[in-house]
Symmetry: C3
Subunit: 468 residues, 3 copies
C-alpha cells in the first residue's frame, strides 16, 4: 500500500471498474486543460513582487485557517501557528506540530490538498509524522529556494488562464496595473470588487469606510446620493482595471427596495451612529439590492456568499483577528430574501447573480430551482467547508436533476493558498468526471454528452457565468 | 456507445454487477404491473374527447413547465414556448428550440423522461439537436396522426389501472360521469377534490370563490356554517363521483383549532376584505384543520403538498400566468404545524394524511418519524423537482431506516404530461429495485423479502394508502 | 438465499469487491475489541438483581418504543404491546403481533438489530411470521431460562468494558455502589447525571423537583444560590460515584448568561409558578449555560441531545406515558444558541461538550465546523432514528471532510435494550470500516492510516471524548 503522498493516479475515481474506466477516459480529456479561477483570495503581491516563499510554515500553515483550526482543536494556541513570532525556530515548531498531528487531517479536504501538493511539487514520499518533520521541512525549504518555485514560475506551471483576486473598493489597483503592464508576465489576473464592509452599518467602522469610499470616488460630501454614486464610480474603476465581478458576503441574503427618501434617512442615522438594529438590517438589505441593480446595469457579475457567522469566538478574534478558523455556517434562506431583487432584476439578461451556499440543504431546495428559471441566477460551486470530494458529489447530485449542468458557476477555488489551486481544480475535475461516468453507466446520458459536458464544466461554463 | 434514445434496458440500475443482477431480477417481476396513478394533473378532456394530440410542441413543450423553465434560462421568452402564437410555424420553432438546447436537459428528470418517451413511443434513435429538429418533428407528428396515438389507445397501452385528475370543488364532474358511463372506455378515472383556492383568504378572489362554493352546494347565505357545510356537501359529491382523495397545497402546513365563534368572525372579516394578514393565516390554518377533520369523517384521503412559493416572479405571472416554471420551494416544518390537527385526529384510523415534501430535510427529520407513529400519517413520494432517480434514492435512504417500506404513499407521478406517466412509474420501479437490491447484497433483507416489497411498492402500498 | 436471521458475515459491507475486501480486513481488526458504551439507558437493576429476563415480549417489545411505534401504525393499541396486561397470554399475543408484522421492520434499524440478536443469541434461523411465532417464542423462552442468559453473564459475553446508565440527580446511587462493591461482578458501570427535569421551569413539576434537589444536596432554603450549589454538590456526588458525564436533552440548545440578580428573580417567579413563557426560556437557557460552566470546572463531560419534541400526542402520553414512540425531531440550531456559552467556555480545555443532533442538516453545517475549531466541542454520533447503517454513513460523509475522524464522540448506543448493545456497536464498526475502505480505494487515505483510525474509532476516540 502506498503512502498517501505517493499519489494514486486514479484517486477519487469510484471503485467499481466500469465506472472507473469511464471516469478515467473523461478525466484524461480534461486533466490538462488550463485553470480558470474567477474567484479567490490569493495575495496579488505574491505575483507583483515574485519573491520566494519564506518557509514551509509560512507557505502551508500560517495563512491556511483550514489547517490551523484543526490543530487548534488539539490544544495548540494560535500563537504557535503563525499568529505570534515567525522566525525560523517558530516556523520549524509550527511545521513539527502539523506533521505530528497529520492524523487530524485524514479524510479532510485540507489533508487531501496538502498530500497532493507535497507529492506533486516536492516529491515527498512519506506520510508526515513527528519523526520525519525536520527532514520534510528541509526538503520543502530546498525547493522554495529554487527559481522554479517563485510565484510567477508556479503560475505558469499551474497553467492558470485566469486568476481573480479580491480587493477593497478603495484600493487603487496599482498592483494590478503594474502586473498587467509588466512585459515579463503574461498571465491574466483581475481584481474583484468586494464591498461587504461598506454595505452594512452593523459592521465595525462602517461610517469611516463610507466616507473613504466617497473620497476614493473623488466626490465631496457625505450624502446618500454621493454614497451610491461612489459605488458606481468605483465599480466602473474596477471594471476598467479588468474586474469581471463583485463579491458580496452576508450572513443572510436579505434584500429590500427602499425609497430614496427612506434610504437617505437611514444613511444619515447610520453615519451618526444612531441607527437601530432593525433599520440597519433594512439599510444593508437595500445596499445588497443596489449592488444587484448596479450589476444589472454595468454587467459586473455578482457572486453572493451567504450563511456564515464570522468570528464566532470574540476572544479569538480580539487576540488573533479574523480568518482564524472560527467562521461558522448557519442556515440560510434565498427564496424570500432575494425575491425583492429578483422581482426587479431577475429577468434582466445582463445580470449574472451567482449564489454560493454553505448550507447544503439550499442546493436542491432553493438554489437549483431559482437557477432553473431565472436567466440571471447561477448555481455557485460548493464553498468553504464543502469544497471536498464527497461534498462536490453531493452538490452534483442535488442540483443536476433539477437544473442540469449548464446553470452552474464552474468550480471556484476561493483560496488564499496559491499552491493549492491545482490540487483543488484537479479534485473538482476528478469528482465531476466520476459523476458523469455514473450517469453514463446508468444509461442517463450518452458518452458523447458526457465528453462534451466534462470539457464544458472546465471551460465553457465558468467563462459564460463570469463573462470571460 | 448508444445515443440516449436507444434506451439501455438496464438504465438506472447500479453499476456494480452483483447489485445490478439482483436489481434486474426484482425489476423483471414488477416492470409489467399495471400503473396506479392516484394523484396527477392530466386534463380529463384528453380522455373524454379522445382527439389526436395537436403537434409535438403542444405535446412536449407548451404544457410542461419543467421543460420551458430550462429553456427560459437560456434567454428564450415564454411567448416562444407556447404562451404566445401556437400555429404550426410557432410549434416548429418551439420544437427547434428544444432540440437545439437538448444539452440543457442532460441529467435532469425532464431529459430522462423525454428520452424515454422518444425512444419507446416514437422509435427515435438520435440525440436531438438543431440539425435533426425538423426531421424529428415530422416523425413525432406522423405518429400522432395514427389511431394508436389517440389518448384512450395510449391509456390502454400504458396499462393504467387507476388515474386521478385534480378538480375544482365547484366542478360539476360531468366529464367524469360521461367517461364512467361510456361503454367504449373501461379505464378507471377518478376526480380529486382540490380546495386550495377556497381555504386561504390571502389568495386572490377568495371571497368570490367562497360564494361560489356555497352556491355549488345548493345552500343559501354566505354564513360560516354554510361555508363549512358546503365543503362537506361538495366532498360528498366528489366521493359519489368516484373521488378517493382531497389534495391541498400550502406554503406552510399550519393548522390551528378555532372556536366556531372566532372562525365566524374571521370568515366575515375575510368576506368583507378586512381581515389582517395574521388573522388570515389563522383562518387558513383552521380551514386546513377542518379539511383534515372532514377526512377523518368521510374517509377521503388527504394529500398535503407543502413548502412552495407559487409565482415567484410577479412579472412572469402577470404576463404568462401560473405554472410557468417559477414556483420555488422553501423550508417547511410539519411537526409543530400539524400538531393541533394530529392531537385531534392523528390516532383516527379513518384518516389517511399523506405528507408530500419538497424540502428533503424533512424526510428523515419529520415525515418518517411522524409516519412511524401515527396510523393516519403516510410518507408522500418525492415530489416535483425531486421525482428524479437520485432524489428517489435519497428518499428511500432517508425514510426506510426510520419507517420501513410500508408507511409510504407509493409512487405518485403528479404530472400534466400524459405521455410521461409510464416513463415516471418505470423510473420509480427501477430505482426502488436498485435500492432493495443493495439491501439484499448488504445482508439487510432477504431476497424473499425484497421480492415481496418490490411488488407491494407498486401494488399493495398505493392501494392501501389511497384506499383503492 | 439465506433467511435474514442466518446472518451474513459480510453484512453492511459494500458490494464492490475491492472495497468489500478492504472493509473486511479493517473489520477483522476491530470486531472483537471490547465495547465502550459511555451513554445509554440500560436499567441498572438488571445487573444489580441479575434475574432472568421475564419473557420474549418483555425482552424485545415492551420496552422498545422503536418497535412498538411501528406496530402501532398498523392499528395495534399500545395496550396490546406491553402498556396493559403483561401475563404470559398477553406476552404471547404481543410476540405474535411482532412476528406477523415482521415486514414492517424490513429495512429499519430495529429490524436489523432484532435479526442480529435472534441469530447470534438464539440461533433462530427463520424469518418470523404468524406461523412460526409460537415456536419462536418457545425457543427464546428456553434460552432465557438458562444461566448463560442472566444479565451479568451476557455483560461478560458482550465484552463490555464500560457501561454508563442515566440517573436522576437526586438518585442515591446505592445500586451503583452495590454493584461496584460486589466482588462477583467485575464490570465497570457508571452513573450519568441527567438534570433535564430540573433545568427548565416549563417542565411539569419543576418547582417540586428544585426543592428535592436542594434537599438531596443537604442544603436548607429554596434560594437560587442553594439551587446552583445543589447542582454542584450533586454533580460532585455523581463524580465520586464514578460518573464521567452529564446528559442534557433539550428541544432547542439555547444558552444565555444572566446576572445573579436576574436569575434569582426568575428562579423565584418560577418557584411561585408565576414565570412567563419568555422568562422561563431565559431561565432554562441560563441553566444550560450553568451546566456547561460547571462542566468546565468539575470536568464532567456534557452530552447535549437537542432537537426533539417529546410526547407529540398528548392523548397517547396521558394514557401510556412517555417513551411511547411519539417523540418527534424538529430543526435545530447550535451556532447562535450555543454562542453565549462558547464565548465564555469554548476555549477551556477542561470542557468536553458533545453535540448530538437528530437534525442531520446540522452535521455539516454547524456541528463539524464548531468541533473543527473549539477544543471543547465534540461531534456526537448519529442518534435515535439516525443510528442506522445508511444514516451512520451519511454522518461520516457529512462530518469527516470538515473535521476529520478525531473530533467525534465515538459510537454511542443510547439504548434501553440491553441485548441490542452488541448489535449496535457491531453495526457501527461495519459501517465505519466500509467508509474507511472507500477512502482507501479512492486514494484519499493510506491503508496504514485506515487501520489506525478503525481501531481509534472504537478505542481511543470514545475514551478521549469521555475522559475514560
Amino acid at each position: 500500500m502506498k503512502s498517501l503522498t505517493q499519489l494514486n493516479p486514479q484517486r477519487l475515481f469510484p471503485a467499481e471498474p466500469t465506472v472507473r474506466a469511464v471516469t478515467e477516459e473523461l478525466y484524461d480529456s480534461v486533466k490538462d486543460l488550463p485553470i480558470v479561477s474567477p474567484h479567490g483570495h490569493v495575495d496579488l503581491q505574491l505575483l507583483v513582487k515574485n519573491e520566494p516563499f519564506k518557509n514551509p510554515a509560512d507557505l502551508f500553515i500560517y495563512f491556511d485557517h483550514y489547517v490551523t483550526r484543526l490543530l487548534h482543536t488539539q490544544g495548540y494556541d494560535l500563537s504557535e501557528l503563525g499568529k505570534g513570532d515567525t522566525d525560523e525556530a517558530a516556523a520549524r515548531k509550527a511545521w513539527s506540530i502539523l506533521c505530528s498531528n497529520w492524523h487530524m487531517l485524514a479524510g479532510t479536504n485540507s489533508g487531501y490538498w496538502l498530500a497532493h501538493e507535497f507529492g506533486t511539487l516536492f516529491n515527498i514520499d512519506e506520510t508526515p509524522n513527528s519523526e520525519n518533520a525536520a527532514e520534510l521541512y528541509d526538503i520543502v525549504q530546498e525547493h522554495l529556494d529554487q527559481p522554479a518555485f517563485l510565484p510567477r514560475a508556479l503560475f505558469d506551471r499551474f497553467n492558470i488562464a485566469f486568476l481573480a483576486t479580491t480587493d477593497d473598493p478603495c484600493d487603487d489597483l496599482a498592483g494590478h496595473r503594474d502586473l498587467a503592464n509588466d512585459p515579463t508576465f503574461s498571465g491574466r489576473v483581475a481584481p474583484t470588487f468586494r464591498p461587504d464592509a461598506y454595505l452594512d452599518p452593523r459592521k465595525p467602522g462602517w461610517a469611516q469606510k463610507a466616507g473613504n469610499l466617497i473620497a476614493a470616488a473623488g466626490l465631496n460630501g457625505q450624502s446618500f446620493v454621493n454614497f451610491i454614486e461612489a459605488f458606481r464610480i468605483r465599480r466602473e474603476f474596477f471594471q476598467i482595471n479588468g474586474a469581471v465581478s463583485v463579491d458580496v458576503g452576508v450572513t443572510e441574503p436579505y434584500t429590500v427596495e427602499l425609497t430614496e427618501a427612506k434610504a437617505t434617512e437611514l444613511f444619515e442615522q447610520a453615519l451618526a451612529g444612531k441607527i437601530s438594529e432593525t433599520d440597519a438590517r433594512e439599510f444593508a438589505g437595500f445596499m445588497l439590492f443596489e449592488q444587484i441593480r448596479m450589476s444589472a446595469e454595468d454587467g459586473l457579475v455578482l457572486t453572493l456568499h451567504a450563511g456564515v457567522i464570522r468570528n464566532h469566538s470574540t476572544t479569538t478574534f480580539e487576540k488573533f483577528g479574523p480568518d482564524t478558523g472560527q467562521d461558522i455556517p448557519v442556515a440560510v434562506e434565498f427564496v424570500e430574501n432575494l425575491r425583492p431583487a429578483l422581482e426587479r432584476f431577475g429577468l434582466n439578461k445582463n445580470l449574472h447573480l451567482i449564489l454560493f451556499s454553505i448550507d447544503e440543504t439550499t442546493w436542491s431546495r432553493e438554489v437549483a430551482p431559482l437557477a432553473g428559471f431565472y436567466p440571471s441566477v447561477f448555481i455557485g460551486a460548493p464553498w468553504w467547508f464543502l469544497d471536498a470530494p464527497d461534498s462536490l458529489l453531493r452538490f452534483r447530485v442535488a442540483t443536476t436533476e433539477i437544473a442540469g449542468f449548464y446553470r452552474g458557476s464552474g468550480f471556484i477555488d476561493d483560496t488564499r493558498a496559491f499552491l493549492s489551486i491545482p490540487a483543488r481544480h484537479d479534485m473538482a475535475r476528478r469528482v465531476d468526471c466520476s459523476f458523469l461516468a455514473r450517469l453514463v453507466v446508468e444509461g442517463r446520458i450518452t458518452m458523447a454528452q458526457a465528453e462534451t459536458i466534462a470539457v464544458d464544466l472546465v471551460v465553457t461554463i465558468p467563462r459564460k457565468a463570469f463573462k470571460l
